[in-house]
C-alpha cells in the first residue's frame, strides 16, 4: 500500500518541478515586447540643467490638487513658503538633486517616472491600477482601483512610485506626464514647458533619441557616451544625457532585459491556460478517492453511502 502512493506523490512533485524548470528556458516570441518609439517622453540633459528647480514648483503648481491625483497637497501650501523636498514622496513627483564629487566635478539630476516600455509596476499590480497607455506610452495610476499593496514600489527598479505614509486615506503618487493637466491643456508637460535653459525636451521617443544622438555626436567630450534609458530595462521613455557616470547620479546600472519579462515568463509557464492547476487538482482527486476506497475495502465496513450517510472515512 505504501509504495505506490509514495511513487505517486513524487510523480506529482516531479511534474511541478518540471513545470518550474521549463519556466527558465521556455520563451514564446509573442511575449517579447517591442519598443514603440512613437510614444511620448522626455529627454533630460544634465549638462544643461542649472538646478533652479523651476520644474519642481511648476509640477506642484499644475498637479497639486486636481487631475488624476485628487489628494496631493504640496506641503508648502499651508503657509505659502517654499520648502524644498529632500526626495520624491507622496507629495513630490519630480525632484532636482545635486551630486557633487569635487569642486570641479558635479552634476544636477532630475528624478521622475521613467515611463518604461515594459513597466514592472504595471506587470505586478494585481488590480490593474497601474496601466500603460498603448498610444502615448504613459504609465498612469488609478487611485480608484488601487488597494495600496505597494507591490509597485517593490517592483520598480528606479524606486519611483511613492506612498502617502502619513495619511489615513493614502495613495500612490508618481509622474503621469501631466496627462490630465498641462499635457491636456497645452500639449507639453509642465516641467518641460517651464525649464528656462531647455534642459528638458518633450516629444516622441524617436525624436528624443535623434536629438540625444545628435548632441552626443556634436559635442565630443561633453557627455558620457551613453543615452540612459535607451536600452535599460527594455527601454524607457524618460531619457538622460549626462557628463557624469549615471550610477553616480543615483540612476542604477541595469540590464537590457525588463525584469517583468523574466517574472512573467515563469508565471506564464506555470499557469499557461490554467492547465497545470486543473491537472494537479484532478490527479490529486483521483489519488485521494482511490485511497479512500482502498481504506474502506480493507475496513470491510462503513461504505461511502452507508445507511447513516456517514460518508466514509474522510472525516
Amino acid at each position: 500500500m505504501k509504495k505506490p502512493s509514495r511513487r505517486q506523490f513524487f510523480k506529482i512533485m516531479g511534474a511541478t518541478g518540471a513545470a518550474l524548470l521549463a519556466g527558465r528556458s521556455g520563451t514564446s516570441a509573442s511575449e517579447l515586447h517591442q519598443v514603440n518609439n512613437d510614444t511620448i517622453g522626455m529627454l533630460y540633459d544634465a549638462t544643461k540643467c542649472v538646478g533652479c528647480k523651476a520644474c519642481m514648483s511648476a509640477c506642484k503648481r499644475v498637479n497639486s490638487d486636481y487631475g488624476s491625483l485628487a489628494y496631493e497637497q504640496a506641503s508648502f501650501d499651508s503657509d505659502g513658503l517654499w520648502d524644498a523636498p529632500q526626495d520624491l514622496s507622496g507629495s513630490t513627483r519630480t525632484l532636482i538633486k545635486l551630486f557633487k564629487e569635487s569642486d570641479k566635478e558635479w552634476s544636477y539630476v532630475k528624478y521622475s517616472c521613467m515611463h518604461c516600455q515594459k513597466p514592472s509596476c504595471v506587470s505586478v499590480c494585481p488590480v490593474s491600477a497601474m496601466t500603460r497607455d498603448k498610444l502615448t506610452g504613459t504609465v498612469d495610476y488609478n487611485k480608484d482601483a488601487c488597494i495600496g499593496c505597494r507591490y509597485c514600489q517593490i517592483a520598480c527598479a528606479f524606486n519611483i512610485p511613492k506612498f502617502q505614509w502619513d495619511k489615513a486615506i493614502p495613495q500612490i503618487v508618481k509622474c503621469d506626464l501631466c496627462k490630465n493637466t498641462n499635457l491636456l491643456k497645452k500639449g507639453i508637460t509642465a516641467c518641460a514647458e517651464t525649464c528656462p535653459v531647455g534642459a528638458i525636451m518633450f516629444g516622441k521617443r524617436k525624436e528624443l533619441l535623434e536629438e540625444a544622438n545628435k548632441r552626443l555626436r556634436e559635442n565630443p567630450g561633453r557627455y558620457v557616451n551613453h543615452i540612459y534609458g535607451e536600452k535599460e530595462v527594455g527601454g524607457t521613455n524618460h531619457l538622460y544625457l549626462s557628463g557624469m557616470q549615471f550610477n553616480k547620479l543615483g540612476l542604477p546600472i541595469l540590464k537590457e532585459e525588463a525584469p517583468a519579462e523574466f517574472s512573467e515568463k515563469i508565471q506564464h509557464t506555470i499557469y499557461k491556460g490554467f492547465i497545470a492547476p486543473v491537472a494537479l487538482y484532478s490527479t490529486l482527486c483521483f489519488v485521494a478517492i482511490k485511497n479512500m476506497k482502498k481504506g474502506q475495502e480493507s475496513d470491510g465496513k462503513d461504505p461511502i453511502d452507508g445507511p447513516e450517510g456517514q460518508g466514509g472515512d474522510h472525516r
Binding site: 518550474l20 519556466g23 527558465r24 505586478v124 488590480v127 495600496g148 499593496c149 543615483g250 517574472s263 460518508g311
Partner: protein, 429 residues
C-alpha cells in the same frame, strides 16, 4: 473512522495564559485602530524603500508557511494514504485556519486602500501577470476551504449540544429583566440542531473534493509567494534571487508544515497535560529530511549554476544570514535522519524547531534581509508595528486554546491507544 476520533479538551477556559494572551491581543488591536486613524506611517517604520515590512514578511509570507500544517497533513493522509494520522488533522486544520485567516487580516491592515479590495472580484480589473493577484485569490479561497474543512467539528457539536451554557445565560438575562423566557427560543435552537444534523452528512459526501482543493490551493499560492519577489531582480540579493524561487517556496512550506505539526502536537500535549504522540510524530519526522535534502540541493545547485557559491561563503552580512538559514535547516534534518533521535520527543522537538526556524529565516531573507532598495534606505520594525504582529500571533494561540476546549478537535485518547497498536502492526508488516 468517523467523527468519534476527536474529543473536547475538558479544562477551564479562563487560565492565566488566557489573560496574558488576551492583553497582548487587545494591545495589538488598539494599535490597529491607531493605524486606521492616523495612517500606516504613524505605527510603522516602513518607507518608500522598504514598502513591505514585518507584517508582510512575518504575518503573510512566513505565517502562512507556519500555517501549512493542515496542508502537509492532508497530503500525508489523503494522498500518501496514511489514514492512521487522521485523528491529528483537525488540530492541524484549526491552526491553519487561524494562520491563514489572520494573514488575510494582516493584509487588510497592511494595504493602504483596503476598501478597493472588491476589485479582485471584478474581471475587468484582473491582472493575470501579477503573482500578487494569484496569491490574493488563492489565499481567500483557501481560507474558505479551511473553514469548510473545520465545519464538521462545529456541526457535530451543534448536533449534540444541549445548549447548557446558552440556556443558563438566557435564564439569567430574562430573570434579570423580570420576564419569562418565551418558548420559541427553544424551538429555534432545535431548528439549528436539525439544520446541523441535516448538513453534516451532505458536507461529508463532498468533503473529499474540498480537501483536495485544500491541497491544490496552497501548492499554487505558496509557490507564488516565491514568485512575488522574481520581479525585484535589482533589489533582492543574488543569493536569493533565482528563477527557482517558486519551487523553493513550495518545498519550504512543506517541510515547515510537517515540522510545525510536530511542534504543535508536542506543545499542546505538554500544555494540556496529554500523553505525547511520539509514534505518529516520529513517523511524520521520517518525511521531513527528504524534503529538506531536495530543498538544500536545489539551493546549492542553483547557486553553483549561477556562480554565486563564492558569495555564499564570503561571510559578509548577506552570506552570514544565508549560512545561518542553511545550517539551521541542514542541522535539523541531520538530527531527524537518525532513527533513534526520532524516537525521543525532546530531539523531535529540537530538530523540528531548528527546521522551522531555518525555513522561516529563508522567507525573512527573501522578503526583508536580502532586500536592498539602494543607498540610504534602512528598515527595522517600529515597536507599535511589532506589537501589532505580536497581538495577531497572541490571538491565534488564544483562539486555538479556547476552541479545543469547546469543540472536538484533539485526537481522542482511547483511539490513540488503538492507533499505537495499529502502527505497531503496520511496522511489523
Amino acid at each position: 473512522m468517523s467523527h468519534d476520533e476527536y474529543q473536547k479538551h475538558d479544562a477551564k477556559i479562563l487560565t492565566p495564559s488566557f489573560i496574558v494572551l488576551l492583553t497582548l491581543t487587545l494591545i495589538g488591536f488598539a494599535l490597529v485602530a491607531v493605524r486606521f486613524i492616523k495612517g500606516i506611517g504613524a505605527v510603522t517604520n516602513m518607507s518608500d524603500g522598504y514598502p513591505w515590512g514585518i507584517w508582510i514578511t512575518y504575518d503573510v509570507a512566513t505565517g502562512t508557511a507556519i500555517a501549512c500544517g493542515g496542508y502537509a497533513m492532508a497530503i500525508l493522509i489523503y494522498i500518501r494514504n496514511h489514514m492512521h494520522y487522521h485523528p491529528m488533522i483537525r488540530s492541524a486544520i484549526l491552526t491553519s485556519m487561524f494562520g491563514y485567516g489572520l494573514a488575510g487580516f494582516s493584509v487588510m491592515v497592511d494595504v493602504g486602500r483596503p476598501w478597493n479590495a472588491y476589485n479582485f472580484f471584478i474581471p475587468s480589473k484582473w491582472q493575470l501577470n501579477s503573482a500578487m493577484f494569484e496569491v490574493a485569490l488563492c489565499v481567500m479561497a483557501y481560507t474558505t476551504v479551511l473553514l469548510m474543512e473545520f465545519l464538521p467539528a462545529v456541526l457535530t457539536t451543534l448536533e449534540k449540544t444541549e445548549w447548557k451554557t446558552l440556556q443558563l445565560l438566557l435564564d439569567m438575562l430574562y430573570s434579570r429583566m423580570g420576564m419569562k423566557r418565551p418558548e420559541r427560543i427553544g424551538d429555534r435552537l432545535d431548528k439549528v440542531k436539525d439544520l446541523a444534523a441535516w448538513a453534516k452528512p451532505r458536507l461529508d459526501k463532498v468533503l473529499i473534493f474540498i480537501i483536495v482543493l485544500g491541497i491544490t490551493l496552497p501548492t499554487m499560492h505558496q509557490s507564488s509567494l516565491g514568485s512575488l519577489l522574481l520581479i525585484a531582480s535589482t533589489k533582492l540579493h543574488p543569493l536569493w534571487h533565482t528563477g527557482f524561487l517558486p519551487l523553493l517556496f513550495l518545498i519550504n512550506c512543506m517541510f515547515i508544515g510537517y515540522s510545525i505539526a510536530i511542534l504543535e502536537s508536542v506543545i499542546s500535549c505538554y500544555a494540556f497535560k496529554r500523553p505525547f504522540e511520539t509514534k505518529e510524530l516520529s513517523g511524520m519526522a521520517r518525511i521531513i529530511p527528504w524534503l529538506t535534502v531536495i530543498w538544500l540541493s536545489v539551493v546549492v545547485g542553483d547557486l553553483a549554476w549561477r556562480g554565486q557559491l563564492g558569495a555564499a561563503v564570503s561571510f559578509d552580512f548577506y552570506s552570514r544570514f544565508f549560512l545561518l538559514e542553511f545550517c539551521l535547516v541542514a542541522g535539523g534534518s541531520l538530527l531527524m535522519f537518525s532513527g533513534k533521535k526520532r524516537e525521543s520527543i525532546r530531539w523531535l522537538f529540537v530538530s523540528a524547531a531548528l527546521i522551522v526556524l531555518g525555513g522561516a529565516l529563508y522567507r525573512f531573507n527573501v522578503y526583508l534581509i536580502g532586500f536592498n532598495p539602494g543607498k540610504g534606505w534602512h528598515y527595522f520594525p517600529a515597536l507599535a508595528e511589532l506589537l501589532i504582529t505580536v497581538g495577531i500571533v497572541a490571538f491565534e494561540i488564544l483562539g486555538y486554546q479556547v476552541i479545543v476546549k469547546i469543540l472536538p478537535v484533539l485526537p481522542k485518547l482511547h483511539t490513540r491507544k488503538q492507533l499505537d497498536s495499529e502502527l505497531g502492526l503496520a511496522e511489523k508488516a
